[in-house]
């Protein structure tokens, strides 16, 4: 089968991987097509901080192994983009920060090692808010990423680079990390799919830590099946991460295939979270959500309303717990073992540390470190950090009660469509409340998925969020694939195929 290179980049990841596995397309061709696409459009989008100079060589090695008759993983030879929060041997890993500019880690994150072992080819490292602190990718020390649907607008954050890369057809698969919505919210505003796995389901080893009790690495793709394929590769117990769960996980790929094939949601009880469908949610997002609920009902789901009253306090609790953990985690940037050092003659090591951190951290990082230091300081600890941890218990209880009434919870994935670059950058609080829909899942540790549910009044993507009980990630993939198929039927294709062509990408 002959495919024009530009067509290869339009294919969903699983279709591209199938062509490569069948020998119809080589990994070199697939990789080259995506490198060409990056060269053509990334000047506009700025999804990548680093493009892997060794990608073609790695692709060639996979082609040779296949040619020699070796049995390879189903995704072997397919290209993947990697969020810069993840450590990669041979590629700089900066977490979007000046303090790690040019730093090349001596080891791979476990998720990266697993992708490599499966034969996926890294295209490069994607842009992000510095240390994953943000919802717009504007806090990257290396400049913002632009939303492929409208380059004046944000691609979400912190993983705006990965979401924009898959939305702009620069990569079929990508990895993200989700601490308060950094996979699901970018998915929502770019019309793509992203999954935050159950806490502990995917190793955090080699993911530069933001808030260790909240962070999870997960897939970023254009289809639910593609996310499932990546999740199956990266998931499972890792002895390098002491919070990694020792469990046998079902095949998420099988769950997604079943879901897509069934076309029915009969027997599924779906809970609409009352608190996430009201205040602060834009009218057009609410309208798409109502229509989606109707689609679910028509497909046989039983839709009930559930109430999670403590969610009202989730943003407040999150912005105490996250800065507290982040201020501790970021203490490792001490100008001694790695990263930037700024020094003058005669200074003590502490002066050098303070000068290096002042020069290396951006404003949002400083803000959150100072806030976290405040929340943990004597006299305030119980009132703020202690109370926030109690709220975390209340949110878990809300979820427990909700999941007694429903198999799956749904809400809009983000309160609005993509806002304009610069619109909220000077108002930290306005940026923080943007995460209201996604934060509760991180506080409770449960899995969540963001997937497209249509376009807003401005013609920009609107995202749906699915939430499942702890360990029930497969439920997200099964229902998510069914919902995706039902909605795509109505649209005449998945949503990303409707995105406007980029200037640099015109054939």
């Amino acid at each position: 089968m002959e495919q024009a290179p530009s067509e290869l980049t339009r294919l969903p990841g699983h279709e591209l991987a199938t062509l490569i596995a069948a020998g119809d397309v080589s990994s070199v061709e697939a990789t080259q097509a995506h490198l060409d696409r990056i060269a053509a459009v990334d000047g506009e989008i700025h999804a990548f901080l680093h493009v892997n100079g060794g990608a073609l060589e790695q692709a060639k090695a996979i082609d040779e192994r296949r040619a020699s008759g070796e049995q390879l993983h189903a995704l072997a030879g397919a290209p993947v983009a990697i969020k810069d929060v993840l450590c990669t041997i041979g590629m700089p890993s900066t977490s979007g920060s000046r303090i790690l500019e040019g730093w090349v880690p001596p080891y791979d994150a476990t998720v990266v090692a697993r992708l490599k072992a499966a034969g996926l080819v890294a295209l490069g490292k994607t842009n992000m808010d510095e240390f994953a602190m943000g919802s717009s990718t504007e806090h990257s020390a290396y400049g913002p990423t632009r939303n492929p649907w409208d380059t004046e607008r944000i691609p979400g954050g912190s993983g705006g680079g990965s979401a924009a890369a898959v939305a702009a057809f620069e990569a079929p698969f990508a990895l993200g990390s989700d601490t308060g919505g950094s996979i699901r919210q970018p998915a929502a505003v770019t019309g793509t799919v992203g999954v935050k796995p159950t806490y502990g389901g995917v190793s955090r080893y080699g993911a530069i830590a933001l808030a260790s009790s909240l962070d999870q690495v997960g897939p970023v793709t254009r289809t639910v099946l593609d996310s499932a394929l990546i999740h199956d590769v990266i998931g499972g117990h890792d002895p390098h991460d002491s919070t990694s769960l020792k469990r046998e996980w079902p095949s998420f790929t099988a769950a997604a295939r079943e879901g897509a094939a069934s076309g029915s949601l009969a027997g599924l009880k779906v809970g609409v979270v009352k608190e996430l469908d009201s205040e602060g949610i834009a009218a057009d997002v609410q309208a798409r959500f109502k229509e989606t609920v109707q689609v679910l009902t028509d497909a046989g789901a039983e839709v009930v309303e559930v109430s999670c009253p403590s969610f009202a306090y989730s943003v407040a609790a999150y912005y105490l717990i996250l800065p507290a953990e982040a201020s501790s985690n970021l203490a490792r940037f001490d100008s001694v073992r790695f990263g930037l050092r700024v020094e003058q003659q005669g200074q003590t090591v502490e002066d050098v540390m303070a000068a290096s951190r002042e020069a290396g951290f951006g404003p949002e990082v400083k803000r959150r470190i100072i806030l976290g230091t405040y929340a943990l300081s004597a006299g305030y600890y119980d009132a703020y950090y202690g109370s926030a941890q109690k709220v975390r218990t209340l949110i878990q209880r809300d979820f427990d009660a909700a999941f007694e009434q429903a198999d799956l919870l749904i809400s809009p994935a983000a309160p609005t469509t993509a806002f304009k670059i610069g619109e909220k950058i000077d108002d930290p609080l306005a940026m923080y409340v943007n995460d209201i829909t996604t934060i509760p899942a991180n506080l409770a540790g449960i899995p969540g998925m963001g997937l497209p549910m249509g376009l807003g009044d401005d013609g920009l993507p609107v995202g749906l969020q699915l939430l499942a009980p702890m360990f029930e990630d497969a439920r997200l993939y099964r229902a998510g694939a069914t919902i995706e198929a039902l909605l795509a039927d109505g649209w005449g294709g998945i949503l990303t195929t409707k995105a406007p062509e980029l200037a640099g990408g015109a054939a």
Binding site: T243, S327, G339, T348, E358
Partner: protein, 99 residues
């Protein structure tokens, strides 16, 4: 309104080892007061009878066998270091003159 002063921010920055500029102290003093006001609501709901949750999946004492695993070589460990002598990381003076 939270009473966060310039001196508070300077003290916190000292604890966090960040040499903030005067302008940064000014803007952070205002922002921090606003943010703390917004997040102080957590104190409204959490009664004494509610236990704290520090971690989504309770786990304790995750240990491994006490055997030598794969570790970095000196060369790997120093590859990203701002300064080293091949065996140790090199830093500037640990103690100031007054100490």
């Amino acid at each position: 309104m939270s009473e966060i002063t310039r001196e508070d921010v300077q003290h916190l920055a000292g604890l966090a080892r960040i040499a903030l500029t005067d302008d940064e102290v000014t803007s952070l003093t205002a922002e921090l007061s606003q943010i703390v006001d917004a997040i102080a609501t957590v104190r409204e709901v959490a009664g004494d009878d509610i236990p704290a949750t520090s971690h989504p999946v309770p786990m304790a004492n995750v240990l491994r066998e006490d055997v030598v695993g794969e570790t970095l070589t000196h060369e790997q460990a120093f590859a990203g270091a701002p300064s080293h002598d091949g065996e140790r990381f090199r830093v500037t003076a640990i103690l100031g003159e007054e100490q």
